[in-house]
Amino acid sequence: MTAATSRSTKSAAQLEGEPPDRALADRVTSRRDPASFRALYARHTPALYAMAMRLTGEPADAEDAVHDAWIRAVEALPRFEWRSSLRTWLTGILLNRLRELERHHRPELPLDDTVLPTDAPPDLPHDVDPLDLEAAIAALPPGYRRVLVLHDIEGFTHEDIAALLDIEPGTSKSQLSRARAHLRRSLSTDEREVL
């Protein structure tokens, strides 16, 4: 089972016949309906948790962050204006929570705004072990890791990432370029022995 096939994230087409996010969210806010919340949870948590795992590398931290993000999201749901998808909004809440948790662990380096060329693809060897790739991603500095995970794994564009992280799109591009360079160097010299 590949990562892509194992993700339970459903596309819009797959969601046909199921209540849309907005209808479920309305039932959560107006009736405090647990079943509607569980439906939203089941729909969005797999992607949120996977992203939290890739950004923290620690199951306990990822679990706490997703838990806290859902609490904040339900608290704020009556004020959500639906100008973005619910998934994107939830991702923003989760990222905020993760950044708060990161600040407790280590100070964050300021983002480097120098714009680098970003047309280059990740350009990683095709035979990289998925576990080694994930370990190399986890070892990236937090700012680089965040942009790389959001862009190269979660599929957000630089404009999305700029909105989510409250940075300029150019900053997102340069961070991605630097993250990919880090990753290439790490994977070409990585002699770690992972059992």
Binding site: V28, E63, D152, I153, G155, A162, L164, L195
Partner: protein, 211 residues
């Protein structure tokens, strides 16, 4: 914040085929499944805050099976009591087996000492190949080889005892894997494929209790 209208995963899949496109690495990293217990934890937290109505039956998907599960647990308890033995010694107790994807620790003990040099590299590669195959099937969460040196902490204030002489052949924990499996039987089946067993080692399978 700039409005974002679409879920990134709903975009044209063909756009992801380009290696510089968003999501280019999505298929190349291992999957991560949220712990099943997290859902109830979130629901309980929301209910305590008054954001959800109290749920009498809990997860409706589970409640359908609750009666049968209770009967099964009672039957297992009765069998253990009447028999007076620890049924199923050597394998995870069946009563602990979850009915959804759960996590298990595979603890590696014993086995011949690591040979060093090329032979050790070959053995590491053998374990890595096994882990890679497991990850490919979505079962591997993590795994590490532990060094033999250790620091043992005992009573607070009593200091630390360096215990650097242990080795896996002395019964010291030599490494571990955390796997996900749909049942204790599946976890056991996975553990039986562990190359560590071919090297004379022991693999202890323990269910991870959600907390």
């Amino acid at each position: 914040m700039t409005p974002i209208d679409r879920d990134p995963r709903d975009r044209d899949p063909a756009a992801r085929d380009s290696s510089s496109a968003p999501g280019a690495l999505a298929a190349r990293v291992p999957a991560h499944a949220a712990p099943p217990a997290l859902e109830q934890r979130v629901v309980d937290s929301l209910a305590r805050r008054g954001l959800l109505a109290p749920s009498r039956s809990g997860d409706p998907r589970r409640s359908r099976h609750r009666g049968w599960r209770a009967m099964a647990l009672l039957a297992t308890a009765a069998a253990l009591f009447v028999g007076g033995v620890f049924a199923g010694r050597g394998r995870p107790p069946a009563s602990l087996a979850p009915d959804s994807t759960a996590r298990y620790a595979l603890l590696l003990y014993g086995g011949a000492d690591w040979p060093g040099g090329d032979a050790e590299a070959a053995r590491v590669d053998e374990y890595r190949q096994w882990a890679r195959a497991l990850a490919g099937r979505g079962h591997l969460v993590t795994g590490e080889k532990l060094r033999n040196d250790a620091l043992e902490l005992v009573t607070p204030g009593a200091g630390a005892l360096p215990s650097g002489t242990g080795s896996p052949s002395d019964g010291v924990l030599g490494g571990f894997f955390i796997i996900s499996a749909s049942s204790a039987a599946e976890a056991e089946a996975i553990a039986r494929t562990m190359p560590h067993l071919q090297h004379g080692g022991r693999v202890v399978v323990r269910p991870i209790e959600p907390t």
